[in-house]
Amino acid sequence: MVEPDGLSQSGDRGDGGSLKPPGVELGLPAFVPATLHRQLLVDSVIWWMFTFALLAALGLSLAVVDQQESFGMLVCFVLFGGAWVLFNLTNARVAQQLPQITQLVECGGREAESLIRNVTLRRPLHRGVRLLVYHRMAMLRYRQRRFAEVVVICRSVLSCTLGPARQVKAHLLILMAEAGLECRDWYGAWAALVELHRCRLSLAEALRLLALQTRYQVQFGDDHPALYGIEHKMLMADLMSAEQCGATNAFLSIAAWRLDQPDLSRRLWERAQLLCTPRQLEEVKSAVMATHQGQNISGSSTITVSSPGIDCPV
């Protein structure tokens, strides 16, 4: 489990899970859950103040409709209405910037950092819009391989009432599971995978869940569940991107090898070789080896590290 307090302590670890690489000045400060909760509180206080003021103006304008002050109340209503429209315009502008942020995140550049920082400082924002901005921040941190921070962001956002941001719940869970596997937050990854099974997923999300679940099972030595329905899993994997499809084939190949199915293992590994670069296959191998170095988490005794006759991973 990665706790918020651990952020500064792990700052100089230098591994994939580090939060702030030494010597690198970042435009966007490291995520602190308390900041998100404070921003959400301020947003909702301002929102309710506006709403009450608007309702008060409506009530008063109706109450004094036959008196001389009715014109003044109407002006008051127009002022409050204008302020309300301005408030919504700010939100609309930020919502319109979200696709641009996504595009910049894909490039992984510093522009995305500065844009996200500017947007998060704006207030008041609707809860849904603010949470969507933090979702993009999680995407950016994932892109930057700051996996421990991704887990914290996802956990914090998911702990809030998502409202209109529930459309990204599945993606947040996927990010959390993937980052959890990378930074060895096994419990977090497992919890995210369980929660994903309760969500309604798009095809792309379902494929990503399959890839993650296969990786999780093979890393933990649960080879039988990993190979269950192998033909269907291979067909589904064919719909993934080349790299993801290759990695899934490689993980399944390792599981097949450990279950003493050399023909299947060879076939899967050959497919993986056609779809993944040697470096990507090395990463798959090291992920499996790293899980079992010094500890056998699942308690399974079937995990063996030996060299098969074919050019196979373990």
Partner: protein, 292 residues
């Protein structure tokens, strides 16, 4: 084609007519400003008359404006959802069903240009996969004409169009397109586009019987086609065919190795379905002890 009728594969003329009748338009400025104009008109009326109704009128107008705006946003979200469903069907390779749904959805997307482009792209892809290459070329051209020339998507679509042209033996058109794209492909740092371009060149060499040129691509082919995923199987199969045509003895290892690679990624029947000339290689198997 009415919804109640059984959907029939469109002819090139029908495709051209359908696309011409459903050209994307940006959202109307009048419709965008109509709610605000109506609201201010009501406000002026309310200020002009001193009556109970006049005081309530702006509130009613505000409610109507909010309802109108949210209804419009709901409609766009619904259309986007439908578009995603159609795209998912295309990924699952239900090409006929995808074509039907995208065809029917297109008229309602003229006011949402971004989603409109995605649906036309779906239609082009399905026509291509259903081997209606004339219609596919028309649809690709419709999309390419509306994108900046150096846009990644435009380059990708141009490559797809060139492959469709090669399938129709429009060799000169395809050659012009591929020559025009060479510089752009080199300047774009996108491995998928590079892979697609390499594949298109391979198809061109095979279609023009330049098997020596095709085999010259062999040393880097696995590396370059890798980003295409399982679609790389077509490239491996065409390389096997090129080796087959060049070799003196048809049973050489090279042919078997490339064919084995192709059939590892995709069943032979699918390969032959798209490239009928691969039939000569059907039934081959990897020699014992061979390596991918």
């Amino acid at each position: 084609m009415a919804k109640s009728q059984v959907f029939q594969l469109p002819t090139p003329d029908q495709v051209a007519d359908h696309l011409a009748a459903n050209v994307p338009r940006g959202p109307s400025r009048l419709v965008s400003w109509l709610p605000m104009m109506a609201f201010f008109a009501v406000l002026v009326i309310s200020l002009a008359f001193d009556h109970v109704i006049a005081a309530v009128l702006p509130w009613m107008a505000l409610v109507v404006v909010l309802w109108f705006v949210s209804a419009r946003a709901r409609r766009v979200r619904r259309l986007e959802r439908q578009a995603v469903e159609v795209e998912e069907m295309a990924i699952l390779r239900y090409h006929l069903l995808t074509l039907e749904r995208a065809w029917q959805l297109l008229p309602s997307l003229v006011g949402v240009p971004s989603v409109h482009g995605r649906m036309v792209s779906c239609i082009a892809h399905c026509l291509d996969q259903l081997q209606l290459y004339d219609s596919a070329i028309l649809t690709y051209s419709f999309l390419i004409d509306r994108l900046p020339g150096d846009h990644d998507q435009a380059v990708r679509l141009s490559i797809e169009r060139s492959i469709a042209q090669l399938q129709m033996d429009h060799l000169a058109d395809a050659d012009d397109n591929l020559r025009g794209l060479r510089g752009l492909v080199l300047s774009i740092n996108n491995t998928v586009i590079n892979g697609a371009y390499q594949f298109a060149q391979l198809v061109q060499h095979v279609r023009t019987n330049h098997f020596e040129d095709a085999v010259a691509l062999a040393p880097v082919l696995v590396e370059q086609l890798r980003p295409l995923g399982v679609e790389a199987a077509y490239g491996h199969a065409l390389m096997a065919l090129s080796c087959h045509h060049l070799s003196d003895s048809p049973g050489t290892d090279e042919v078997d190795v490339w064919w084995h690679r192709a059939t590892l990624l995709m069943p032979a029947v699918e390969l032959i379905h798209r490239f009928g000339e691969l039939r000569v290689l059907d039934g081959r198997s990897m020699p014992p002890g061979g390596q991918v």
